[in-house]
Symmetry: C2
Subunit: 229 residues, 2 copies
């Protein structure tokens, strides 16, 4: 790996815990919050991939709502429009993983520009980052929306390279989603996979360059590699 | 819907039951066969979509094996190479759903050419159809392999239209996979969704033209529409 000149983070599932919406789901269907958020997240991912392949793009907020409509039908939840809207609003204020705020501060102190590259709409990304009070950490918030296709398509990964004026080999891409880490690696970024819960890496012909169990471990590693600016 | 001049079937999960491999999985890990086959199938699908989006095509047999390697790791099965090969061989002889052989005979008697359009490799499709003794039913076995991308990309759906020398509006596309039915509908085929087990249709901006609970019901419906040749 060359010297790193910037760090690009995935948002959903990497810096922020998508299953923090389970608490709000639980308020509508006590005892079923986690079950709902798991199906919802799985369908949300599938719809990003399927719509991209079909050539029928719609933005992340629309797909998030459509995935919840499916989930409501499949799990027989009978969520009405108000409930759907309330739960989708929760997706705009999901919580960062516990170690993330302090680790981002340490990474920023190293002097590297930090960016988010997400399938979320520009509004989704801004809302989530602002709701958690972390907007000062990031030099760039980059949405797939401008290229109207989702990760793991190359067009999305290319956005970070372009906006950060770096070669892909100089940007460290960080994701907890193995499929996303694989896509970024295939595109040409050096990749760090955050594996918080002992998952198995996907078999997509790629391997991460570095594996950590949390963002604090990434800060530890980079502080030994490049001392604070 | 115009007069129908041919029928195009999806294979995996539509005519043939992918979970018929659960019995073989069970022989390696008693009591866990269904759990294994569910994760394996889900990953197999994901890998077709993800590799297509990454622009890193590999054929269905390779992805099926890679999905099983992932499943073995995630479920801590420690399947060795021989076990992986034995289980992948099972995918080449999955069983048709019980009503399928008789219903295909009835559909063929109507006089419409029947085709399979599948993400499977040409070898996979031929093996499955031959193992079940149904090869005489089909005028065309069409694999996504020739265009090196998977459904629901338009390039795959286009293959049936081309090889059957019909306009897309004249071919009935039949799938149990709601994402596949959605892709075919978006491409322009009239679509019949086989919903055997009370699933919810995916929210991908499309609706099936016709819904049945089994292939026998499709034969019933078409026999009333167009009398036997």
């Amino acid at each position: 790996m060359k010297n790193i000149r910037g760090i690009v983070f995935d948002l959903y599932g990497t810096l922020y815990d998508v299953h923090s919406v389970a608490a709000a789901c639980n308020a509508f269907h006590p005892g079923r919050g986690r079950e709902i958020s798991v199906v919802w997240r799985q369908k949300q991912l599938e719809y990003t991939w399927l719509r991209s392949l079909m050539g029928d793009y719609a933005d992340f907020e629309q797909l998030t709502r459509e995935a919840l409509v499916f989930t409501s039908g499949q799990l027989q939840l009978s969520l009405d429009d108000a409930a759907l809207s309330a739960l989708c609003a929760e997706y705009l204020r999901i919580a960062p993983y516990p170690e993330v705020p302090a680790a981002l501060a340490r990474l920023q102190a190293i002097g590297l520009p930090l960016a988010i590259l997400s399938n979320g709409s520009a509004n989704s990304i801004r809302s989530v980052v602002t709701a958690s009070g972390l907007e000062q950490r990031f030099a760039h918030l980059i949405s797939a929306d401008s290229v109207r296709i989702f990760k793991p398509h190359d067009k999305v990964y290319q956005l970070a390279e372009q906006q950060m004026h770096c070669d892909r080999s100089e940007l460290l891409f960080v994701s907890s989603n193995a499929w996303d880490a694989s896509g970024a690696r295939h595109f040409g970024y050096p990749v760090c996979w955050i594996n918080r819960i002992g998952n198995t890496f996907d078999e997509l012909g790629q391997s991460p360059d570095h594996i950590v169990q949390g963002l604090d471990q990434l800060a530890d590693w980079l502080q030994t590699r490049q001392p604070a600016a």
